[in-house]
């Protein structure tokens, strides 16, 4: 009897489980993954640049090398000139909007590029952009080497308008030597992490300053820091994802989303690999995993980059209003911060740094809205200089992680616009780092960009959002479900979605728990009544 009972139960359970298994098999769709990523990319160049006569001639400057490059690569110049690496202007905005570093975009690092060219353009893929007179149509002004040389010895002088030092020259504690032109020219190859990192790891004027997910730790990251670029693993170069065609590097820029559509290489082998979906598809997890259902609303980065600046600290705040203090020798005062980098610099003001920072989250469709030097602003509120576009109803928008960099920077308090200060220049030029007079610096900068300045400035709070896409953590370090599906959610600022665990209907909770409590109280009282009645009737029972 007992055995047969157990048998019956086992049969039913097995039948139940079997049906369940069939159901989940039927639900399974083709999983997408990128299983071959651990293989290094094949190397298939067909030319040894060390053997080209053109690269054996004597070079005295960068443009001479470029001419030699162009003598064979006769399309390269025209190609580069179309790219944002050359123009520093958004390709998807009308020229009159002046959207770009080369235009009137304002940030809360060194604020704006114009009037500070020789310093800023040390990261321009060109030679000689020292002021407005730079000739963007001269192909020999292109710097091929900064992206292509492979010796690691080629360095542009930080204040040389894109040129390397012509003779040994000091800047800070570092001495910059003229390159061995033949050696660097003959070393050229496809760009590596070090080439891209020369500028992109040092954005905002130095290591660790700008992005939070790009800094010098990314030259040779380990698996913990970036699963794709792991030097002992897949060892991706930047261009492995930033697919480059005719010198146009894919990626997000201002109004331009990284990709027009999210499709995988399985559907079209000619797409750029710039999105995670390109290789991983929009169902990257195991077939029945609920995580696959998130990909229409949540960017991969949101779960897979739990924190940025995981190896080195990154700058979180820059307060220009306190700049100007000097030490006993009259030099700009410098104070070290607890994490290593400066907490105060007399040239720049106060800095806040942080390591292992949990991102901010926003809906984002790939386009940013920038506040420009000519935009009217409301100084009573923090001004968001770069704001993610996108909303819950936008099918192209996902919830993305961001670094939020806050700042305190000058504005024109009569015209209610941000200002372009001239920072870099010798004493007497009006530059802040020459004369330490904000009024003069702003006047000089605004005159340079032909914008009005009332002569009166004040300080305002500003915010700048950087999308976080690098430093993809190993999957076991991904953000867990309950870091978002909880009332203390990482996504507490995110509207437009119902998230179980975070969202609930408060009245329903009261009514539901109330009903359960009422039922409990009811049965308790009923039971109590029965106990009392039984005691009374008990005597009667015995008599009967």
């Amino acid at each position: 009897m007992l055995a047969s009972k157990a048998l019956t139960r086992a049969i039913f359970l097995t039948a139940g489980l079997g049906a369940l298994l069939l159901a989940s098999l039927a639900l399974a769709s083709a999983p997408g993954s990128a299983a071959q990523t651990s293989r290094p990319a094949p190397h298939w160049v067909t030319a040894d640049h060390g053997k080209f006569e053109a690269l054996k001639q004597e070079f005295k400057s960068g443009p001479e090398v470029t001419k030699a490059c162009l003598s064979c690569h006769n399309e390269a110049g025209a190609q580069v000139m179309k790219t944002i690496h050359w123009t520093w202007m958004s390709p998807d905005a009308p020229p009159e909007a002046k959207l770009g570093k080369g235009g009137l975009v304002v940030n809360n690092f060194c604020i704006a590029m114009p009037s500070n060219e020789p310093r800023c353009t040390s990261c321009h893929a060109g030679y000689g952009w020292k002021d407005k007179s730079f000739d963007f149509s001269k192909q020999e002004n292109i710097d091929c080497l900064v992206c292509h040389e492979q010796t690691g010895t080629y360095k542009k002088f930080p204040a040389g308008a894109g040129h390397p030092a012509a003779e040994p020259k000091k800047m800070g504690n570092e001495t910059f030597l003229p390159p061995d032109w033949n050696k660097v020219a003959q070393s050229v190859g496809r760009p590596t992490r070090d080439n891209c990192g020369t500028c992109h790891f040092y954005g905002g004027g130095g290591d660790m300053v700008k992005h939070g997910d790009l800094d010098s730790s990314m030259h040779k990251p380990g698996r913990e820091l970036d699963v794709h670029m792991d030097v002992k693993g897949a060892n991706f170069n930047c261009t492995r994802c930033h697919t480059t065609v005719a010198h146009k590097v894919s990626g997000r820029a201002y109004k331009t989303p990284a990709a027009a559509q999210r499709i995988s290489l399985l559907k079209d082998d000619q797409i750029s690999r710039i999105t995670c979906e390109s290789c991983h598809s929009d169902k990257p997890h195991a077939a029945s995993s609920k995580a696959n259902d998130h990909t229409d609303k949540v960017a991969c980065q949101t779960c897979h980059i739990p924190a940025f600046a995981r190896a080195l600290p990154t700058k979180m705040r820059w307060d220009w209003s306190t700049a100007g203090q000097r030490d006993a020798e009259g030099k700009p005062l410098k104070k070290k911060g607890p994490l290593g980098p400066l907490a105060y610099d007399g040239m720049k003001g106060d800095f806040t740094w942080a390591k292992d920072v949990q991102p901010q989250y926003q809906w984002f469709n790939g386009s940013m809205t920038n506040v420009m030097a000519y935009t009217k602003i409301d100084p009573s509120q923090p001004v968001t200089l770069a704001q993610a576009e996108g909303s819950p109803s936008d099918p192209n928008a996902r919830i993305y992680p961001f670094k939020l960099h806050t700042g305190r920077q000058p504005y024109d308090k009569v015209n209610n616009t941000l200002v372009v200060p001239k920072l870099f220049g010798p004493p007497g030029s009006g530059a802040y780092w020459g004369d330490y007079d904000w009024n003069k610096a702003i006047g000089a900068g605004m005159a340079y960009v032909n914008l009005p300045y009332s002569g009166q400035y004040d300080w305002l709070e500003s915010k700048y959002y950087f999308q976080i896409s690098h430093m993809v953590a190993p999957k076991e370090k991904a953000v867990s479900c309950q870091e978002c599906h909880t009332q203390q959610s990482r996504l507490n600022g995110i509207g437009g979605v119902y998230m179980p665990g975070r969202d609930f209907n408060r009245p329903l909770n009261y009514i539901g728990w109330g009903a359960a409590a009422a039922a409990l109280l009811g049965v308790f009282l009923h039971g109590l009544g029965r106990a009392v009645a039984r005691r009374k009737n008990g005597n009667q029972d015995q008599q009967g």
Binding site: D293, G501, V523
Partner: protein, 210 residues
């Protein structure tokens, strides 16, 4: 306490008992994990709670299919035909008579396992609450596929979650009352025992005139 038990009848077949206890385990587990998903507490962790919840949901769907099949082929569905006959008597018994030591107005028999109040309750659970939870659970889980089903109606995830949660609270209230009601037999445990062994011990026939 005097044992006033009388003869026993075989009321619940092996399958019915299996179904009952499997379903009760599933309901309790679903409510427990569901409340965690709802954000009421953190015990298993959200991910594990979701996994257990979904597993139980599919299992219940399969079980329910077997139950409906069993009902159909055995004709036992007739036990759940609602009736108003003696409904008031039963309600009055639980409100008043039970305290006066009166006998239950509808004694259990093979032809009528459930009193009118039970019939109504169990039928509405089987026909309303369970399908509602299954439907909203299904919509909840396949929320992402709504656009593929060309489903763009006014219903949103918010509403689906609301109904699904409300259904859970319904089950919770039912569970409290149901567990308590098992103690209202002629002994505290006799109904519970019946659902374990299948044999319901009937109270000794009340003497006429008592």
């Amino acid at each position: 306490m005097s044992n006033n038990g009388g003869k026993s009848i075989y009321l619940y077949t092996r399958f019915e008992r299996f179904w009952h206890w499997a379903q009760s385990a599933l309901i309790i587990t679903l409510a427990f994990t569901g409340l965690e998903i709802h954000g009421s507490y953190t015990i298993l962790g959200f991910k594990r709670a979701v996994e257990v919840h979904n597993f139980c949901a599919w299992t219940w769907l399969v079980l329910h299919a077997f139950v409906l099949f069993w009902m159909a082929v055995t004709g036992e569905w007739r036990q759940y035909i609602p009736t108003t006959k003696r409904l008031i008597d039963v309600a009055l018994y639980y409100l008043v008579g039970i305290f006066q030591g009166k006998p239950h107005p509808v004694p259990k028999s093979e032809r009528a396992k459930h009193n009118p109040l039970q019939r109504m309750t169990y039928l509405s659970i089987a026909l309303v609450l369970i399908p509602l939870q299954m439907a909203t659970g299904f919509l909840y889980y396949y929320y992402n596929s709504w656009p593929q089903w060309a489903w763009t109606s006014g219903l949103n995830l918010n509403a689906v979650a609301f109904i699904h949660t409300a259904g859970m609270f319904g089950f919770l209230a039912f569970l409290v009352v149901h567990v308590y009601m098992t103690t209202t037999g002629h002994t505290l445990a006799c109904h519970l025992k019946a659902m374990c062994t299948g044999w319901e011990e009937l109270p000794r026939q009340a003497k006429a005139g008592e």
